[in-house]
Symmetry: C2
Subunit: 464 residues, 2 copies
């Protein structure tokens, strides 16, 4: 019997006040309608359900409903129950969330976001369905803040196979994206007494800001024609690198330099933080495996699903040496973790079923095609400008003559095109000459906007 | 043509080394099989696909495959492609993630977790499907770290209706559960120069630990027969309370005290942090609305889906006054948010469709039935012990004679039953006499274990 009303009707908070109970309930309901808390058209609980909720007699509720129908605040119709009448509400309408500060450009070549229109919605839903069907009840509770074992196992296997990472599930830690992983590692470093982290002269300022906010000083590493010189100066306790595909320059770290930075870590006990942000996407050249493979005891590997699937999933991972893994785990204790288990289980299923590999391969072709179109268009319209970092990833650097970067960006803005210059990525204290160029993220536009975006870019480029 | 192989096969990282290319590839593949990176039975990419990935001739790959088949590392069968042979792997098997420190008890009455077996899997999947179908591509990108507008709007409407919260979407902030919300607010308080936060004498030590880790001192508020005296001492800049249902005592904050703490906040400019952890579950008494309704400019409202749905979703929310909302938003900038958008959109859909209300009403009946069975069993087996805090929530307090709490917990442990005493929740510096009792979380056991758990509890209780 109780069940018959339990599944019906909205859940409504009311505090009847004043003397008579019916009068109090009537006032409370009227107030809820008047101020807009109860929207026009909302169906009210049955008098029996509300009476049970409030612990009062059903007749009292029925009476209050009748009063308000008589006053015109509610309507009662056979078969559709009691509803809030359609009348103008006096309270101001709920304020919509403030829009984000920057308006959307017509054309977007900012790097960092993959083609979101290609997110495999149907395949992902299938993985969610399977994960939900297979998950033990316990998985829905407060779990291991380091992540679900199913996902840590799937990632260890995948990263070993596809990226050459030496991983066992006990050293894999699931994070809410790269920013979360870096924040956690910054806390580990601080707790170890580290004060300074070396970073690349060109990189994302949000990453430098996260380190700074954690109380760490960043010192920029010099950059030359072979990419970043990765050996940190004395006093640095860690170095943050993008070895497979320097961001944004696009060059892989030279084998000699890979060896040199690992030697530094062994010699000093420092940590190398390897940001493998787009390691899955490589086109013409031999794949560059994870630096972590050279020394899993001194290199922390970090990756995410943000480029391969979508940033909105907020799923990332890190593979840690033993001691930092324990230190990070201790910091997470009590936090109950940050990643929803259903997303974690869905990703584990997505990897295990082979859907992740299929999607990466499909997207690799997709991006290669785009990259080729971009290179062809540049060769035809701007043969005097050199494109670099084209062998992998989701962006290229188009080198510009000194003193022209700001002008080209301004010209792009006039075309409705958002594209950053190298200056945007430069560490404020970077040594050496300022390089100029555009960092063109060709993964970002949806297919429908791609050719228009290419055209806008060509119009913005300087004549020879 | 390219497409025909793009959707096939695993993604494999290989670094052929040494002189001849075929020899190098053969060595790399053998090494991957030998060390277990490629598990027995794994299907390799077609020679065409791998050749395209590596940018080498197809014949070279076919040759390397043939060498390894000849050596017995791989097998090739018509129709099932080339696979890793089933042979013992010499590398140690991947280490499984270490088990969590505490083993699972046979019977579990620890409070804090709802009945996970009742998670509405089918309804949730429906919400995910609808959310995935309706989500714009942009939603999958780096979004507003304060949460998706769809969810903030749905929460504002729901919290106004069901909990009497005065909310507009612009003041709602989506968090990865209560711990994340509290960590964020602690950072806001520290940035405001607050050093001390008043907390209830009885509460969760993990919450106190989070505040301490953020650099805040916690001072315990006195507790008496009417619950917590909520007005903080001089010098405190905020107070953390559970007004609707004190955790773990179970009493609602008296109306006079609700008014007093809001007066304190107005007088001093302090903030009241309202932890509404189980406000949806009330049984016999008049609902207690959110304290936030009294003064939305001085009270921060915090709730989660951890009790109403499942902690594993890691979804929580807070409704903030204007200034703290801006300060928290600024702290989140650059973090890209922590909650997966698909979970957020699914919860918005779950609320909007009425499924959330239906689930809460159903669970309210379910827990009320359990609560009644618990009370009946206690009345029959331990009529000399008083149960308090029974009108709401997912737990009760069973008061015990002074000096007996530890003995009863030990007796429970012998029965395989985990149930904490009040001592576990007491602030180390709490003033006033030590209270003794069990905090019995009757929401935790699955239905199948419920009657066995009740029996174990009855056996553990002291004779009169």
């Amino acid at each position: 019997m109780a069940k018959s009303w339990a599944n019906l009707g909205i859940d409504l908070h009311l505090e009847p006040t004043g003397p008579g109970l019916r009068r109090g309930l009537t006032d409370a309901l009227r107030e809820a309608v008047r101020t807009g808390r109860l929207a026009p058209g909302t169906r009210l609980p049955s008098s029996r359900a509300l009476a049970a909720d409030l612990g009062i007699a059903r007749n009292t509720v029925a009476g209050a409903y009748a009063d308000l129908v008589a006053e015109g605040w509610l309507t009662a119709r056979q078969g559709s129950g009691t509803r809030v009448a359609d009348r103008p509400v006096t309270a101001p309408p709920a304020e919509a969330p403030r829009p984000r500060p920057c308006a959307r450009p017509a054309y977007d070549l900012r790097p960092g976001t993959p083609d979101l229109a290609s997110f495999p919605r149907a395949e992902w839903l299938k993985a969610v369905r399977r994960a939900l069907a297979a998950a033990p009840n316990d998985a829905l509770g407060y779990g291991d803040p380091r992540g679900r074992p199913e996902l840590r196992t799937a990632l260890a296997e995948y990263l070993a196979r596809a990226r050459g990472v030496r991983a066992d599930p006990g050293r894999v830690l699931v994070c809410a994206g790269f920013a979360h992983a870096l924040t956690l590692l910054a806390a580990v470093l601080r707790a170890r007494g580290v004060h300074t982290v070396a970073v690349e002269s060109y990189g994302l300022h949000v990453h430098r800001d996260l380190l700074t906010a954690a109380g760490l000083r960043t010192v920029p590493l010099p950059v030359d024609d072979r990419g970043t010189d990765p050996v940190p100066p004395d006093g640095a306790g860690a170095v943050l690198l993008t070895p497979a595909h320097q961001f944004p320059m696009g060059v892989p770290l030279h084998p000699d330099r890979r060896a040199a930075v690992v030697d530094w870590a062994r010699r000093t006990g420092g940590l190398v933080l390897e940001d493998d942000y787009d390691g899955e996407f490589r086109y013409d050249r031999r794949p560059v495996g994870a630096l972590q493979n050279l020394d899993p005891d001194h290199v922390v590997y970090m990756g995410t699903a943000s480029k391969s699937l979508a940033p909105g999933l907020r799923l990332g991972w890190t593979v840690l040496p033993d001691a930092p893994a324990e230190e990070a785990g201790a910091l997470l204790e009590g936090s109950a973790g940050t990643c929803g288990v259903l997303d974690q289980l869905a990703l584990a299923e997505f990897i295990r079923s082979g859907a992740y590999d299929r999607h990466v391969r499909k997207m690799r072709l997709h991006y290669r095609r785009r990259r080729n179109e971009l290179i062809r268009a540049l060769a035809a319209h701007a043969p005097h400008l050199r494109a670099s970092g084209v062998a992998a990833g989701l962006h290229i650097v188009l080198e510009l003559p000194p003193g022209t970067e700001q002008d080209v960006i301004r010209a792009a803005t006039w075309q409705g095109l958002a594209v950053p210059g190298l200056g945007f990525f430069r560490h404020p204290a970077a040594p050496g000459p300022r390089r100029e160029g555009l960092v063109i993220g060709y993964g970002t536009p949806p297919d429908s906007a791609w050719s228009g975006t290419l055209d806008a870019l060509m119009r913005a480029l300087p004549e020879r």
